[in-house]
Amino acid sequence: MSALLTVRGLKKRHGERLLFDIDALTLDAASAYVLTGVNGVGKSTLLRVLAGLETAQVESVEFEGRQLALHPYPPQLRRAIVYVHQHPIMFSTSVARNIGYGLTARGEAKEQVARAVQEAMDWAGVGYLRDTDPTRLSGGEKQRVALARARVLQPRLLLLDEPTANLDGAAREQVIALIPTLVDQGTTVVMACHDRDLIGLPGVRRLKLRDGHLEYRP
């Protein structure tokens, strides 16, 4: 399996405190990973650094065989990597427009956006919410809309911060069921989580952040 992203010498400090010091992080294409570790160890921060939402010290970044810098965050990575918050925020417009936001921002044609949004809504099972005010969505619906909003951009790497936290019952199962389909479509998914059902998904590899270092677990 070919490497999608390799980051070497990744260090992040919060003031004087060294949050993590990772020798090498390699993510393969079309693979799923869970990133585990105790609360406060830096899982979310690591995902945010990879998404270009926070800065960190880095020696080298290789994406699809090309050497890139992480700062300033390059457009190639911005197009290829999408990050989803633990509690996704919805823009105050319709659900359909929320899902199409990224494509519209890229300047895609209206018809293409509409087609992609419809497909993403069918995939996430949120078609019935098309014109709903996003403030009325439940936690599970918000998470699925956020996944559809990310998927519509066909990212090479999707970073999910605790995608099932605060969800229970059917809402949680619906979100978990979407993850393998993303990988099947060629997206690498990294999920910061504690959810045993996500960790136990077939083919999911485990990364553990402990004492500032990254461990690859079988």
């Binding site: 990050y83 925020i89 823009f91 909003r149």
Partner: protein, 235 residues
């Protein structure tokens, strides 16, 4: 003339369509609206930029912006007077004692209000809005329009508050405008003049207009805040 008689006379003046009175109201509204329209884009852009970026001296900039809110308008008027007077650096514009001068004054008076309120509105907004927009590939410009759209109730409150400040200020309009009848006489400068002459009816009539405007603007603000509260409370 008793207060009751003066008030009755004031209403009569208003409803009779007294040209001098309505000319004063027109000059006030015109200069305030133009000043506000000119001040809004730079103030909103600056407010957004200061709220969203971390840079050395940022706290000093925020402090200065907030201090500018409480600057006496008469002091702003004095500074503008010196700038616009014949020997001043901007004397060649010949804006002193003209409506353009008043507009310049309203611009300077309104800008800090708009800036400080926009800054507060954007700062109060959940940072995830901007992050989500960036994570979904939005350009800097689109992130800004998205954030300002999400903070729209706060920005509209900034505009309404800015209008309240410029329409009701007297010091700057008096010093830079010169209170010339039919030309630079505004509601507030006319009230000051008429009161000093003991002519209360016109002053009260203009005061009624100011109170009506204040009621209207604050009503609009309350409606906006109610709308924002409803929108935020439905999650």
């Amino acid at each position: 003339m008793s207060l009751f008689d003066a008030t009755a006379h004031a209403f009569a003046l208003l409803f009779s369509g007294d040209p001098a009175l309505w000319r004063i109201i027109w000059v006030s509204l015109k200069t305030s609206v133009i000043g506000l329209l000119l001040a809004t884009p730079p103030a909103v852009l600056l407010g957004y930029a200061i709220a969203m970026h971390r840079f050395p001296g940022r706290r000093i900039v925020v402090w200065l912006a907030q201090c500018a809110l409480s600057l006496p308008t008469v002091l702003i008027g004095l500074l503008l007077y010196l700038l616009l007077s014949r020997r001043g650096p901007l004397g060649s514009l010949e804006w002193l004692f003209s409506q353009s001068g008043i507009v310049a004054g309203q611009f300077v008076v309104g800008l800090p209000v708009l800036l400080a309120f926009t800054l507060a509105a954007v700062q109060a907004l959940d940072a995830r809005y901007a992050e989500t927009a960036r994570a979904l590939g939005a350009s800097r410009w689109r992130v800004m329009t998205t954030v300002l759209h999400e903070a729209r109730y706060g920005v509209m409150a900034a505009v309404i508050s800015g209008f309240g400040r410029v329409i009701s200020e007297v010091g700057c309009a008096l010093m830079v405008g010169g209170n010339i009848e039919g030309e630079t006489r505004t509601i507030t400068t006319a009230i000051a003049l008429e009161t000093s002459k003991g002519e209360f009816a016109q002053g009260i009539a203009l005061g009624i207009v100011l109170v009506a405007l204040a009621l209207l603007m604050n009503g609009a603000l309350m409606l906006l805040q109610g709308e924002a509260h409803t929108a935020g409370g439905r999650a």
